[in-house]
Symmetry: C2
Subunit: 136 residues, 2 copies
């Protein structure tokens, strides 16, 4: 399977996971090729909305360009959504991290396989936390 197909399948798995937990989720068309800022996924439930940039990697570290993050933040602010990055490292489930918790270099935002487990949250933890916060 090509890298692009793998990425697409992984994104579709994520969409299914959100729907399975009662969230509305869509993948955006032409994300990456569009002239306009466009997150890979938009999900929403109970007054929360997330704009998510999804990355699948076989490396131990993932870099996103500053421009990617800026575009994601621009879209999120305008649309009215939280800004999240989701990374699927080999052998790990999807993990979510806020751009501000990534490591900033002059040209990029980076996050390692070990770091994301400390500073980010897994998909399951995300659902658990959301549920717990709504109960309070």
């Amino acid at each position: 399977m090509s890298r692009k197909s793998k990425g697409l399948n992984a994104e579709r798995d994520l969409v299914r996971a959100f729907w399975a937990r009662g969230w509305a989720a869509i993948r955006s068309a032409g994300s990456g090729s569009s002239h306009y800022p466009s997150p890979d996924l938009l999900v929403g439930k109970e007054g929360r909305r997330l704009a998510i940039e999804c990355k699948l990697t076989s490396d131990d570290k993932k870099y996103l360009s500053k421009e990617e993050i800026e575009q994601l933040r621009y879209f999120s602010q305008l649309f009215g959504a939280e800004t999240w990055v989701a990374v699927k490292f080999s052998g790990l489930e999807w993990h979510f991290i806020l751009p501000e918790d990534m490591v900033q270099t002059p040209r990029s935002y980076a996050i390692g396989k070990e770091q994301i487990q400390e500073k980010g949250i897994s998909l399951e933890e995300f659902f658990t936390l959301h549920h717990a916060c709504k109960k309070e």
Copy 2:
């Protein structure tokens, strides 16, 4: 140009029109073929979000199935967005209408070319009204 391509181009024009007025807008991937409810467009600005089903037609009347409207409403409610139908009749610009302002038949929601100009609003009217409401 195929009917599908025309529809796609018309949706892209709508996305461009929203961005040009300072709205964040995305087209959803695989709308229509997805297993999950998925509006054609999601747009947002200043605390408002719209889930929009888009229809292009050369007929004088457009029908949407009850299921299409129910799925659109389901998505909108869960995600947190207003539910809108946009129809582009030949010779008219895009017009927006709320499902409740369409004519209900046992199996569908219908709207005619004349009716949509009375009961709906054009894209320009939509922008003008939004701007006016935000000023109040």
